[in-house]
Every structure is written in C-alpha cells, then in structure tokens.
Symmetry: C2
Subunit: 252 residues, 2 copies
C-alpha cells in the first residue's frame, strides 16, 4: 500500500484573505447570497472590515473553484447551475468514484478500514431507529445534518482510501458544488434512509467480497439514483419558479 500522503495542505492561515474566503463561501452555502446574485467587492470588504484587496483574492479563488462566475469589467455573480451542469457534475463524480472503488476493491482493503465505513453507514441506520422510536415521519434539521455528515463521510472515506489527493480534491469540489446549489433536500423519511443505508451496505459488501465489478455497479447505481433525485428536484423548482414568474407577470 501507498504511504500516507504528505500533508501539504496544513494552512492555519490567519490571513484576511482566508477569512474573506470562508465568509463568502459560508454566505453562499447558507443561501444568503443567492444563485445568480451579484457580488460586490466593496460591500463584502465593508462587512469584513477590510479593504477590497483580500476580498478580491478570495473571490478569485472561489471563481476558480466554480462557485462564482466572473465576466471582465462587468462583475461577479454567484454561479447558477443549469440542468446540464448537474448532469456534468454527477458524471464527473461517477467517473472518479467508480474508478477509486474499483481500485480500492482490487487492493484488498484492511479490516479496520471496512469497519470505519460500516460505522458511518450505521450512523444512517441509527437515524432510522430514531425516526421509528419518535414516530416522526421526517428528519428534523439536526438529524438531517447528521445524515449529511454520515453520507458525506462515507463517500469521503472511500475516496481517501485511494491515496490520491488530486482525485480527492476534484471529488470534494464537485460534491461541494452539488451540495450548495442543487441540494435543498428536505423531508427525508425512514424509507428513503433505509434505501440509502441499504445501498451503502451493499457497496461495503461488494468491497468485502472483493468483487470490483459488483462494487462499481452498485456505487454507480447509487450515484445515479442521487443524480436523478437532484434532477427531479431541479425540475420541480424550475416549474415552481416559472409559475411564480407567470403570476408576477400578470401583476404588471
């Protein structure tokens, strides 16, 4: 097995630039800065109590990571994913995750690593039990947060086993974009959670039985299901906002 990769990304970074980066990203993630909304360097600088310079640099970075979009001499806006963007992002994810799981499965993953995957997977099962116990139909916000952490952790850990920081970085950025812009997922019920847990468990089983083709097939399917959900959501939102717009058109 490959040695643990050098930790070159250890940047405590007390720079204002980094603070600006965190600040802007969190405001995008929270939906505070809406998709398609304009970004004002001056305003952000004021809010941060800094000059425009570090804000500009943070914006540059966010542009290169795909969260913002810039047109010269015009300005910067929060990216607005199209339907095709979602498809493209999921393809990218699928290509890389599938590659990694094939590699990982071929290379005989240590038992303790399998255990860690199962732990994360069981976190989802725990949420199912909570729902069953309380009788609530859907996850509340805090539980939803735990679900996202567990689900994300599962995939992140799987990617970590590739020992390829570059693949990891691309997948992380891809997942970030999807999460921020194509995911307002609400109302996860016990049934859906059970399905997802089942998929994760099936993937782990395929890894344990050292069947790369099966692992690939199951992970690909898992991702494609997730993709379809995002697309359905996107279509629903678009239909909704189109209707909304029609109404406001009538008001003119």
């Amino acid at each position: 097995m490959r040695a643990k990769t050098k930790a070159k990304s250890s940047k405590p970074n007390y720079t204002i630039r980094e603070k600006a980066y965190q600040y802007i990203q969190s405001r995008i993630a929270s939906g505070d800065l809406p998709s398609g909304g304009a970004i004002s360097e001056l305003l952000l600088a004021k809010e941060l109590g800094s000059s425009r310079t570090p804000v500009r640099e943070a914006i540059s970075q966010l542009v290169s990571e795909g969260l913002l979009e810039q047109t010269p001499n015009r300005g910067t806006v929060v990216v607005q994913l199209t339907r095709e963007d979602i498809v493209d992002l999921y393809e990218l994810r699928e290509a890389l995750e599938v590659y990694v799981i094939a590699k990982v499965t071929r290379e005989h993953l240590p038992v303790e690593d399998i255990k860690r995957l199962e732990l994360l997977s069981n976190g989802i099962l725990a949420l199912v039990n909570e729902l069953d116990a309380t009788g609530e139909p859907y996850l509340n916000t805090e539980q939803m947060q735990r679900f996202i952490t567990a689900d994300r952790g599962f995939h992140t850990l799987l990617m970590a086993f590739s020992f390829n920081p570059r693949i990891r970085k691309v997948v992380d950025e891809t997942r970030l974009l999807i999460r921020i812009f194509a995911m307002r997922r609400l109302g996860y019920g016990a049934e859906k959670l059970r399905k997802i847990h089942g998929q994760h468990a099936a993937i782990i089983a395929a890894i344990v039985s050292e069947d790369p083709a099966l692992a690939v097939q199951r992970l690909a399917e898992h991702i494609q299901i997730s993709r379809q959900e995002r697309l359905d959501e996107f279509d629903r939102n678009r239909r909704a906002s189109t209707i909304e717009r029609s109404y406001s058109d009538l008001n003119l």
Copy 2:
C-alpha cells in the same frame, strides 16, 4: 445527443492580469522558470512593466491550477512533481478518459467524428513516413511539435465528444501538468511512433465496433504505457541529478 454546450469561456481579455498569466505560464512551460524555483512578484511585475497587483492575481490562478505552490508569508515556487504526483495525475486522467470513452462508445459516435479522430491519428503516421523517407532516426523539434499536437488533439477530441466541459477542464489541466513537468520527451523514433499510432487506431476500431469494454481496455492500456514512460524518465532524471549532486558534494 446533447446540444453543444454554451461557450461561456470566451474571454478575449485584454487585462494585464491575463497577460501576466500567459507570460508566467509560458515561462514555466518553457522551463525558463525551473521546477522548485522561486517566483518573485516584484521581478515579474518589472518584466511586464506593470504593478504587483495583476501579477499577484495571475499567480493566484496558477496556484489554483497546480502549477505554482504557495506558503503564506514565505513565497511562491514552481511546483516540483514527485513520483507520486505523476502516478496520481495519471490515475486522474485514466479515470476520466476511460469513463468518457465508455460513454462515447455506447452512444454511437457519428461517422464524421470518427473521421476527425482518424485524421489526427494519421498525422502520426505521416511523421513515420517522413522519418522513413529522410532516413533520420528521430523526430526533429518541429516534427516533435507536430507529434505532440496530433497526440494531444486525439485525446482532446475524444474528451470533447463527452460534451462535458467540466471533465474536459480537469483532463486538460491534468495533461498540462504532466506535459510541463514530467515530459522532456526527446528522441521519438519510427518504432515508437508506429506503436502509438497502432494504439490510437485500435482505440478507434473499438469505438467503431461499438465495444465499450474493448475501447476502455485499450485506452487504459495506452495511458498506462505513457505513464510508465514518464515514470521511467523520472527515475532516470532523479538518478542523474542524484549523481550530479554527489559530485558537487565532493567539491565542498
């Protein structure tokens, strides 16, 4: 088939920042700024006749693209790929290219697109003929350039058929890094060219016969062979520079 994607990346960009970006990148690509060498904002600004500001922004972008490496309050250096970096980069390429060729092959590529691939592939064959005709054992610089163009074009075109600009971007950046830092390939002879052409032709054949698995296998092998060459080259260089260093150590 998917519609042609919107051309959002059309930036003529007369900004100094963009000039600085081009300038620095070309100096890295030419080997003028050596791997591991320090980057001076002030010096580059002077050379460009500009201030540090646009240079800084260009540097930021190059950092995010992986050509430069930055440590806060210390400075910026041209990235120096390790052996593992090369392995990682080739894995990334393989994951994405393999995914794309599978997709493309399944989707029945139009004849004219196949023709375009063949055209590029034949460009390599033409070089073989030139070598045979002139009796030269190896490609000269100009021919080498044409080979790189043809070889790169083949893969780029293949990726273009995916109609996924995000995958294309990642592959492009990956290939750029490999080309700049892990490729000082010289002395390509007729035999090597024939092999590469054969591999390309075999890949095209697999696409034509609409056999995704075969196409995948052949492309993967093609990439892995290239990877091995880079690694061998890397090891040779390292051995050479190690010996060199031993000598200079003796001189102390």
